[in-house]
């Protein structure tokens, strides 16, 4: 699995639960190291063992933990660069939702070997959407659920976001109901201001 993904998990755990928790989890997973490099690739088995170990160390279920990871990626100051890249998706939350179909391509444009599952947004009625997350990266639907929640806050939109089900082929579906597009002020996004 790409180092960026592993590194995201590392930052999330260290910033949220502390470096001690992180070290315990890496030991429990038998990684033999504690620092992931964002620009290297790692064996999928290492990431699987790490997530299992984290669940045990933190006493949390995987889905909830990964949702929190998604929220962290958008809302923590350390990951401001990622929030900005997501905000390039559109001027409003609805624009942003529609830009998700392009997200895997956008990610690959930035980092050529970063493979994200396909995403497909469907609009069922005004304000009611579903996002299908393709197979290939187990738990990605949970991370996306957290990202969608945090991005709604970022845009100042009021929305309910629920993970619905995983289909037989491993695809996950997220239901999005938009209650109000301009519920709060949201966070600023200046095109010309780069992160940090």
């Amino acid at each position: 699995m790409h180092g960026l993904i592993n590194r995201a998990i590392q930052s999330f755990v260290c910033d949220t639960y502390g470096a001690d928790c992180w070290r315990r989890a890496t030991r429990r997973a038998g990684l033999g190291f504690t620092q992931f490099e964002a620009m290297l690739n790692y064996d999928d088995g290492q990431s699987r063992r790490l997530l299992a170990a984290l669940g045990e160390v933190l006493g949390r279920d995987r889905a909830g933990m990964l949702e929190d990871l998604g929220t962290y990626l958008v809302s923590h100051p350390r990951t401001e660069a990622l929030r900005r890249l997501l905000r390039f998706g559109g001027v409003t939350y609805v624009d942003f939702l529609h830009s998700l179909d392009d997200l895997p391509d956008r990610a690959r444009l930035a980092v050529a070997d970063l493979q994200l599952p396909a995403l497909e947004l469907r609009e069922h009625a005004s304000g009611r959407f579903s996002l299908a997350c393709g197979p290939g990266l187990p738990g990605f639907g949970s991370v996306m659920t957290g990202i969608l929640r945090a991005m709604a806050d970022d845009y100042g939109a009021l929305a309910t976001i629920e993970r619905e089900r995983a289909s037989a082929d491993g695809a996950e579906v997220i239901a999005i109901t938009l209650v109000e597009t301009a519920f709060a002020a949201g966070r600023r996004f200046d095109l010309g201001a780069s992160a940090r």
Partner: protein, 348 residues
């Protein structure tokens, strides 16, 4: 034909950075983003060439010259600050006189967005400017991650080199490794012999045939030393042409004398380098640790140095065993002093 004000309206949505010019070259309508760049200056009514300075085509000061730009291509910038630069295209309006100029920030879009606080809404939806900005940020972040990885790898490489026990040129052990072995052996109380070997005439090879020849010689003598020692002895390169050989559990003077003689004989055989022949020899000082304890690595090295100094003084290509009398004669002088005392004759 569409009325001019309608044309401006349509163009404003498609090309927010456009200007409509009349036949005299005055702006009759400016797109919303172009006008946003100069909020305090109403563009309609102004002469286009008073607002903008042309870089290409150069020295044009009439509407006719502007419209005659090859391919309609323009390079221009604002005359006043901030002097945002643009790429542009001018297309004459058929029949009516006047022209449409469409502008783009081109590669200076990053500065323009920052200088004028532009938002996505200031660009046409088909404009790739936002994608370009996205790409710059994404690539900068990825580059930063790669750069920090490179820095860490470089740091790790330096640390690994500092911890290395091997001399990369000859494949022999290095000074660190030799010190480590000496400490271990003196600490464990095993008897051993320490040979300090200094090449003779090596500088002449380096000076006359170059460093590549010198390196070749060093590799050759390294092979000879490895061949003349046992696998559990230690052979280390501790200076440019200085070596330490540590013979574990071997203090037999006769045998060590034989080994030293074979080493010198091996070194003195001519070494071919391309069409050239390199000739070197070696001076050797030998000191002993009897394994009774109490030997300090620094003392041992000093005794081997004194013996080496004696060998140098006796003429080159010799070996000397340490004797207490040497310490009385030359207190505290090592091979550097010996070399200074006996400058190497240049070989012809």
């Amino acid at each position: 034909m569409m009325a001019r004000e309608h044309l401006g309206e349509v163009l404003g949505r498609l090309c927010p950075l456009h200007a409509l010019l009349d036949e005299a070259g005055h702006v009759t309508h400016a797109g919303p983003t172009l006008q946003k760049l100069r909020p305090d200056l109403a563009m309609p009514g102004r002469r286009f060439l008073e607002l903008f300075e042309l870089a290409r085509p150069r020295a044009v000061d009439t509407m006719a010259g502007l419209v005659a730009a090859p391919g309609g291509l323009l390079r221009l910038r604002f005359r006043d600050a901030p002097r945002t630069a643009f790429k542009g295209q001018i297309v004459p309006l058929p029949g009516e006189g006047g022209a449409i100029v469409n502008l783009s920030f081109g590669i200076s879009v990053l500065d323009a967005v920052r200088d004028h606080a532009l938002t996505s809404a200031d660009f046409s939806p088909t404009d790739l400017a936002i994608e370009l900005l996205y790409l710059v940020e994404a690539k900068t972040a990825a580059m930063e991650a790669s750069r920090s990885l490179n820095l860490r790898l470089q740091g790790a490489k330096i640390a690994a080199e500092e911890q290395a026990f091997t001399d990369t040129l000859t494949g022999l052990k290095n000074r660190r490794a030799a010190d480590h072995v000496l400490r271990r052996l003196t600490g464990a109380g095993h008897p051993f012999a320490l040979m300090h070997l200094d090449l003779d005439f090596f500088k002449a090879v380096n000076d006359s045939l170059g460093h590549a020849a010198g390196d070749h010689v060093l590799q050759r003598v390294a092979r000879i030393m490895l061949a003349e020692t046992r696998s559990y002895d230690t052979v280390a390169r501790v200076g440019g042409d200085e070596f330490l050989l540590i013979f574990h559990r071997l203090t037999d003077r006769a045998r060590l004398g034989e080994i030293a003689k074979r080493l010198i004989a091996g070194f003195e055989a001519p070494i071919a380098y391309g069409t050239q022949i390199c000739r070197v020899s070696a001076s050797i000082g030998i000191a002993f640790s009897d394994g009774q304890g109490g030997d300090d690595p620094a003392d041992l090295l000093h005794r081997a140095d004194l013996a080496l100094y004696a060998a140098k003084r006796a003429g080159r290509g010799r070996a000397r065993m340490f004797e207490p009398a040497m310490a009385r004669r030359e207190p505290g002088k090592g091979p550097a002093a010996a070399r200074a005392a006996c400058p190497e004759p240049r070989r012809q």
